[in-house]
Subunit: 299 residues, 2 copies
Amino acid sequence: MKHLYTFALIEAVARSGSMRKAAEDMNLTASALNRRIRRFEEEFGSDLFERIPGGVRLNPAGEMVLHHYRATLSDIARVQSQVADLSGERRGHVSIACSQALLPYFLPEQIARYRAEHPGVTFSVKVRDRARAEQELASYDSDLALVFEPVYLVDFEVLHLVPQRVHVVMRGGHPLAARPEVRLRECLDQPHVAPDARYGVRHLLDFAARRMRRQLDPVLETESFELIRHYVLHENAVGFQIPIGLRESADGSVAFRPVSERDVAPGSLILGQLRGRTLPVASARFAMQLAAALQDVAA
Amino acid sequence: MKHLYTFALIEAVARSGSMRKAAEDMNLTASALNRRIRRFEEEFGSDLFERIPGGVRLNPAGEMVLHHYRATLSDIARVQSQVADLSGERRGHVSIACSQALLPYFLPEQIARYRAEHPGVTFSVKVRDRARAEQELASYDSDLALVFEPVYLVDFEVLHLVPQRVHVVMRGGHPLAARPEVRLRECLDQPHVAPDARYGVRHLLDFAARRMRRQLDPVLETESFELIRHYVLHENAVGFQIPIGLRESADGSVAFRPVSERDVAPGSLILGQLRGRTLPVASARFAMQLAAALQDVAA
DNA sequence: CAGACGCGGTGCATTTTCGGCAACGCAGTT
DNA sequence: AACTGCGTTGCCGAAAATGCACCGCGTCTG
């Protein structure tokens, strides 16, 4: 949208921290860029940048303007998508930031199901830990976030919530697999594999362990749940994951059992968006489908 | 904001229903205006106007674009007001649409109180019946609405709610003034003065009367509660109003008593805004003050 | 029924705006 | 002290927007 060109320039300057660099990025001269920005600052009634030796930096007013720009961009995209929608064609794009647990089964199934009905809709999926996922929303880089145990920033609006108990993952023949549920103490007493501190599962485990005056002492700490799932096949160790990221293997090589609720409280898998935002049609519809599917997962 | 000029033109065309008239209003030639709009339609990817003999009319896409424009304008105003706020100067403007009952006592007191603390803030107050008040919000013509018994609550976000019982208004010496509360039947049996059907008070009364197989038969029907209040001084009639619009007169010339809750259910006086909107600082602060004051009224 | 009228839309000349180039002042750095 | 890189400004040509005259078309009117 051409009338937002000045804002695009402002964003470029903010990103690079320098007018000359931004000018090069945007394919114009520094003087032209400078004048556009000065003119806008005058019209707006306040400077947007703090001029520091060696470059510029956004001041608080600039941050607000930039946020307005991003909100405007997203709103225009929404309007365009709604307009396209009323001419009958179901097109659009859904961007979603999610936790790792959704990658193996849940999300691919859901996306495929949606695309089967609306082949014109495309998707982008970003894997983010729970803190980053919310930043994605705030910067309008993603429409939806589906995360386990979000940190709950103010701008996060919950669309749907399902409880998920932390499960223990292990080899099929593991002795603990014989029980319907497992005590945390038993896990800590043997080799275990755990996600790092950024993840909700780890957060819940740390909290529970501290309460019983114990602590996790993982033989392997990683940011990859896929690694966890596969590692327990090779050593007689236990890993942790939430059930939405787990599925019985046909050959019974992997087993998982819930950790007792007496030890570890269930966490929440939450579908959310940026507070107050009106999503593009495609994203809104997909969110509804996700909510329904999550409902079934819980049941 | 200059970059929104095209949108302003679109709005002018939508308002007048004619490009030539709009051009005159906006002080340019019809050709220039026409080309701006055609160019925008091309960039946007869809026509905004339906070309009909004798002029143009917004199509659905145009309505959405116009809504986007209004939302953008209001957001810019909000950003500007927040920027002004962080440089310490408390300036800004609050626009509010309200029911008549707020005019004599509540609103003037509240506005004066707010302005005593923030002299830089100005106000505009529009008196609207409950349906119109919500349209005011939807078109971004008012920031806040304070109405009795609002109707369509779709885009209406409730900020605060206080119950208000319908009261009977009469001369000081009126026989009904001797009771602590009054039955509706007694009112209908004597000359009564009532607001017209657009108002929440009337709505509640009509509903209650119908339930007891009666109906209102006012000697005077009016859209002015001020007229109602003053008329009952001249004839031995009763009028209706909610207590926030009433106050004991020093000389005891006017009296008011609640209608029994067995007859007429209490209505809701509701402070609200457009759903999902972030208000300018001044409006947001004033809304908080109003909410607190309404709390006290209820107590 | 024909002409006048008012409408949206277009070609062309004009005016206004905008961008590129070169240069300046001002830091911090070598 | 020379140098480098920064934001900023004057000047001029390029590009975009505007005004004017005019077209085709439907409606209204005498």
